[in-house]
């Protein structure tokens, strides 16, 4: 069948768009989301008026940028039950996943060389794990059940005395399923293994609490929660246990040495605002009430 035939066939008897519906309709919000106008409004002053470098310690331009960054850190921390100092800013989820996995792998190399993940993870996790395999690490890719969830017994069996990290996403980007992250966190804590979760699709949509859920590292991005593209964060636990990671980008020692590079102040302000809005509106949007059987 040619494309023209197909087009004719599919466009006959088309339901006309009702009044008030603007075409095309965007319904691909797991790929990215439009910015919330309130996020844009919060960001705008930080492009021109308050353009300072958050690392400038000697003048008010730097101080106001730093204050905005610290406010954003608080907003993000509040959404996930963390403290502000546990939030490290990055360029987005791919970098956060890389930093978490490679950072732990390098830091804990003497303790062990085994990492556990699942076959349905995002490529940012899978390809990072593949890279580590080339560098002498051992990776277990857990299968999933028919419903997309990992079998917790498989996970328990996979953990051995060389396991340093389990990385399993909270919500899957393609099929939207929620992995039992709280149960995974509990198992990891009992076995003394660090737990990283890619929280990109879940944070802001379903309740996640890094302390109740025993999460040690979590990747977050702004553009899936009505914030701007190109900015994200990594949650790194500071207490019980204190998690240490090696940097993958070296430089001026920003973000307490874990991620050097001048901070993207407008983007960070946008991520903070997006998190604050998500926290306020999670219940109104029906988020947090559906699909939480295990939590």
């Amino acid at each position: 069948m040619s494309t023209t035939d197909l087009k004719t066939a599919t466009q006959e008897q088309r339901t006309p768009a009702p009044d008030g519906i603007k075409l095309p309709i965007y319904m691909d919000n797991h790929a990215t989301t439009p910015m919330d106008p309130r996020v844009l409004e919060a960001m705008l002053p930080y492009f021109m008026e308050k353009f300072g470098n958050a690392a400038s310690r000697n003048h008010p331009f730097g101080w106001s940028a730093e204050a905005a960054v610290e406010q954003a850190r608080e907003q993000i921390a509040k959404l996930i039950g963390a403290t502000a100092k546990e939030i490290i800013f990055t360029s987005g989820a791919t970098e956060s996943d890389n930093l978490a996995i490679k950072g732990v792998a390098e830091m804990y190399r003497e303790k062990g060389n085994h990492i556990i993940t699942a076959v349905t993870e995002h490529k940012a996790v899978l390809d990072t794990c593949k890279r580590l395999e080339k560098n002498g690490y051992r990776v277990t890719y857990l299968p999933v059940q028919k419903d997309g969830l990992v079998d917790l017994e498989d996970l328990k069996r996979a953990i051995d005395d060389k396991t340093i990290l389990v990385t399993i996403m909270a919500a899957n980007n393609e099929i939207g399923i929620l992995q039992p992250w709280r149960e995974i966190g509990k198992i990891c804590r009992e076995k003394g293994v660090l737990f990283h979760t890619d929280g990109v699709q879940a944070v802001g949509k379903v309740p996640i609490d890094v302390n109740k859920d025993n999460i040690d590292l979590m990747s977050i991005t702004a553009h899936k929660i009505y914030g701007p593209k190109g900015v994200g964060a990594l949650y790194v636990r500071r207490k019980n246990p204190r998690v240490q990671i090696s940097a993958i980008i070296d430089g001026g020692g920003h973000e307490r040495g874990m991620r050097s590079g001048t901070l993207n102040v407008p983007g960070i302000v946008g991520l903070g605002k997006a998190c604050a809005l998500a926290k306020e509106e999670m219940s109104q949007e029906g988020h947090g009430t559906v699909g939480r059987g295990l939590h």
């Binding site: 466009q11 309709i25 419903d147 949007e285």
Partner: protein
């Protein structure tokens, strides 16, 4: 979308993000369906990489066959979608799936009770 038969939801319904639906419409190519609903932005379960159309590795991991993986669509409803938009999209999808199936010899054979897995195709 209750009016369609042979529709399969991919992944747990109980443990699921609000706003997400990943569905396979048997006997319909996801890419054709996307073309048919070209006023709606959604994603298909086939990742178009270079010359080959690979079915999603996530769907394969669930045990979904290649045919159903190729016929999958991911809907992601967000903060700014309205109920009217959701209704419109559902209608558009249903009518497009029905029309594509009318053109599908495989769907016709299946409806006539032919087990497609037992068919010996020419050239096989």
């Amino acid at each position: 979308m209750g009016r369609l038969d042979e529709v399969y939801i991919n992944g747990s319904m109980e443990h699921r993000l609000p706003g997400n639906l990943n569905i396979s419409f048997a006997y319909v190519e996801g890419e054709s369906l996307l073309m048919g609903i070209n006023d709606v932005a959604v994603s298909s379960g086939s990742a178009c990489t270079s010359a080959t159309l690979e079915p999603s590795y996530v769907l394969k991991a669930l045990g979904t066959g290649d045919d159903l993986a190729h016929s999958s669509i991911r809907f992601g409803i967000g903060r700014f979608n309205t109920e009217a938009e959701v209704d419109y999209v559902a209608d558009r999808v249903c009518e497009t799936v029905e029309r594509l199936r009318e053109l599908s010899p495989l769907y016709e054979m299946a409806k006539e009770g032919v087990n497609l897995k037992d068919v010996k195709w020419a050239g096989e």
